[in-house]
Subunit: 532 residues, 2 copies
Amino acid sequence: MSVEVSANVRLQGRSLIAGRVSADSNGTVFYGYDPSHGQQLETRFCSATIEDVDRAVAEATDAFVAASSSSGKERGRLLRAIADGIDAAAAVLIEQAHRETALPRPRLTGEVARTSGQLRLFASTVEEGSWVMARIDTAEPGRTPPKPDVRSMLRPLGPVAAFGASNFPLAFSVAGGDTASALAAGNPVIVKAHPAHPGTSELVGHIIVAAIAACSLPAGLFSLLFDVGYEVGAALVQHPGIRAVGFTGSFRGGRALMDLANARPDPIPVYAEMGSTNPVFILPGALQERSAELADGLHASFTLGGGQFCTKPGLVFVTKPLAGTFVERLRKATESSSAFPMLTGGMASAYKSALTCREMLRTAKGETVGSGFSVPSVLLEATAAEFFNDTSLSEEVFGPTTLVVHCDGPVDMLQVAHSLQGHLTATILGTKRDIEQNAELLRVLETKVGRVIFNGFPTGVEVCHAMVHGGPYPATSDGRSTSVGSQAIYRFARPVAYQGLPESALPAALQSANPLRILRLWDGIWSADAKG
Amino acid sequence: MSVEVSANVRLQGRSLIAGRVSADSNGTVFYGYDPSHGQQLETRFCSATIEDVDRAVAEATDAFVAASSSSGKERGRLLRAIADGIDAAAAVLIEQAHRETALPRPRLTGEVARTSGQLRLFASTVEEGSWVMARIDTAEPGRTPPKPDVRSMLRPLGPVAAFGASNFPLAFSVAGGDTASALAAGNPVIVKAHPAHPGTSELVGHIIVAAIAACSLPAGLFSLLFDVGYEVGAALVQHPGIRAVGFTGSFRGGRALMDLANARPDPIPVYAEMGSTNPVFILPGALQERSAELADGLHASFTLGGGQFCTKPGLVFVTKPLAGTFVERLRKATESSSAFPMLTGGMASAYKSALTCREMLRTAKGETVGSGFSVPSVLLEATAAEFFNDTSLSEEVFGPTTLVVHCDGPVDMLQVAHSLQGHLTATILGTKRDIEQNAELLRVLETKVGRVIFNGFPTGVEVCHAMVHGGPYPATSDGRSTSVGSQAIYRFARPVAYQGLPESALPAALQSANPLRILRLWDGIWSADAKG
């Protein structure tokens, strides 16, 4: 199946509703920006209207019937068609995204591969089919009272609203993890594009539309809405037809969506990944053994992508007597660091003002001269006492900075661990002996985060079956979920039981003959056998 | 292991905090009632105080360390000890529960078995161990960038608040499904007892305390708090140490808890099962073939337990030309029905006032004379037009009544199905031909409920692996969950990933050698093999 976006495609700047380009509206007009020079780009984008939202939801609601009764193979075919379309358009996408985000081309090349790879991971998950957690308890007519035949499996929720994230113009955007996992589970998706990369969003939107058409699926499965403000997003989350929300972005944005969803007459789940400070604990053995390697690795991690990752290590705890050479090297690396362009002018201002509040803690600063939305890399340092006395120091600063906190020893570190709120990740850098001596630290940290990393850095979130990119509030709105990896599909499904249904009326996954050859819990025993 | 409650145990009327009987407090005093005669029972119960709540949560927080690092085998042992204790005390529990609820002894005998059976189902689930959904993606050091070793599994959430339900003094109460599933997942539990059966609650509380002691587990794993009002429940749900809430009861109560939990600085999940009207669709073929059997079955189902089940069929849709003999028989069964004692005086009043509002629809009424909190069985009838014009008719009436809605045909029924809110169940009574001719009805209903029943009645919720006792809002607060069956354990766990950890620091479920011999997703393939 071939889905192509030509290299000289002309951006139209309009929302895509169920496959059709929206008419020019009275909605607010906006433009993308080139962050390297701070310049407005040429295409004029129209914000969607409330009528557009209504239309997109109505189309999605109609398409839900087909989506929810489609087979895993059919949905896999769609996801692969989107992935192929993205790979085929890689060059165009990378150029457009580079223009709108100033993210380096090699990084964007990797992100294209991540995005199509992610779509194919969900395709293989639903093609294989066991993800539906089929459970079958057969009847015992002889029992008193008779035991009924009960069979259950996961079914899709209904139309999902997904919000593009600013910092991943592809992998967490229009065809990103939220869209891929929601479609995989059998839900229609309406994406609210992030206004920081509208052109990239539009290109990907056309790829999805073409893939749906190529698979002869209903166009209402997907819509893409633009908005430079908050109205369209709010209207989506409050719309009676929307059944769940996926979001990656700021704490403020995520919490606002949670509150809107909870205030509905019928509250719906919001999966908001709201970022975190990702504490790193460097234990004495590691500090002694390889401080230079750790300093270089940490510097690379906190400045990667201009520090604009939700997994950026923003808090680093070291023990005093041994931290000297480590911190010295980190300072030098920071001082010799070039300036980094931020994704938007607003992010550059927020970064500068956060650092102004932390002026006293600044010990090293990289190059400050840079064009457009560029900001310098900054190293902050504090004592454990200062850290405990000022809760604002544990807040996320989006950008190329980190805070090194000098602890007196393991007791301080344990106290820090106990005091942490929810984070996406926690990292322990140590020797094998360190980890044996700090078993309690690991035990406490696993109650605070979605992922514990040993001798690695939190940036770089592998898209795989075991990944958990989540964590207790306020890292996410729902610590029982992950937004990366194949388990992300579980966010958009719910179990439904069928009692006493004739075989012919059962979904294929629950028919005794097991036509899909999936793993099922049959009378309490997991098996992929055909039965009955 | 022997856990015994003597037949002549003296009720103390005090909360149990981490194994210790609470001191007499200034809390409000209350008493149980005998619903058969409307008389106050002898034991004086003291409501817990806010200090009691704080103490119980502090003890639970301390106990969480031990609970979360305990093995499935250890937790299975505890659940079996509680089950054995309940079975051993069956006679005492049945008498006490009968005194406080007026539920018939045979029903309570069944409920004891359901309660201990449920505990043993969770015991076997955690002893077997595969429920943790272990996922292992091994490292590929050669890849660019290197692929890390990532392993994830479900881990407990932390202290859980569980609310006893009025209508199941054992199976949905102190050692009911919420407590059993939360303990099974490795969480401490604090139960807020329902004031309609405080004596039964206290007896079961002592059994749990004794079982915890016999298993040498920390006493803080369990506390039982009494309160005749709402203060203790509200304080629990708002307490920073509580990580999740389980509740079965009214829509008003459940929604209040949801709103409290969502208004916390750190919102927590609330699993509230808030009841439903459980629509029943009787299709023409069945009506023609076996109207007498259907009428008798329906009458038995809507009056079972005095109609005080969340799965009571409260809405019955029939097609006009064929419904005559069916409805006639239903009327006669209702008229010859004895009066039913309601669980509390408040419920009896609510039932009577709901029926007063529906006076015009009343077509048959059973015996009205009954002592205590007794109420008559009532049959209501309406046309489809009346039903569509008055949304209050789809609201739940707790008690022995149901509403028969006369539809013109399958189109009316489909319109009804589309208009439904979330329910726990939907039932189709029909022939095989009926279901073939009404495929769309089934497809619409499965999007509205947690369980679809064919040729059965919704009362009688089998405790098994495949059961889903849930459904979209407003049936529950969270349609992605079930409160009955082994899948209920998933409410109280979240995934945690471990990246790059040495084998010795990994939980047993994630060690390559697979010492627990559980099913795991190893590099994308489900297997119970030992590896590495």
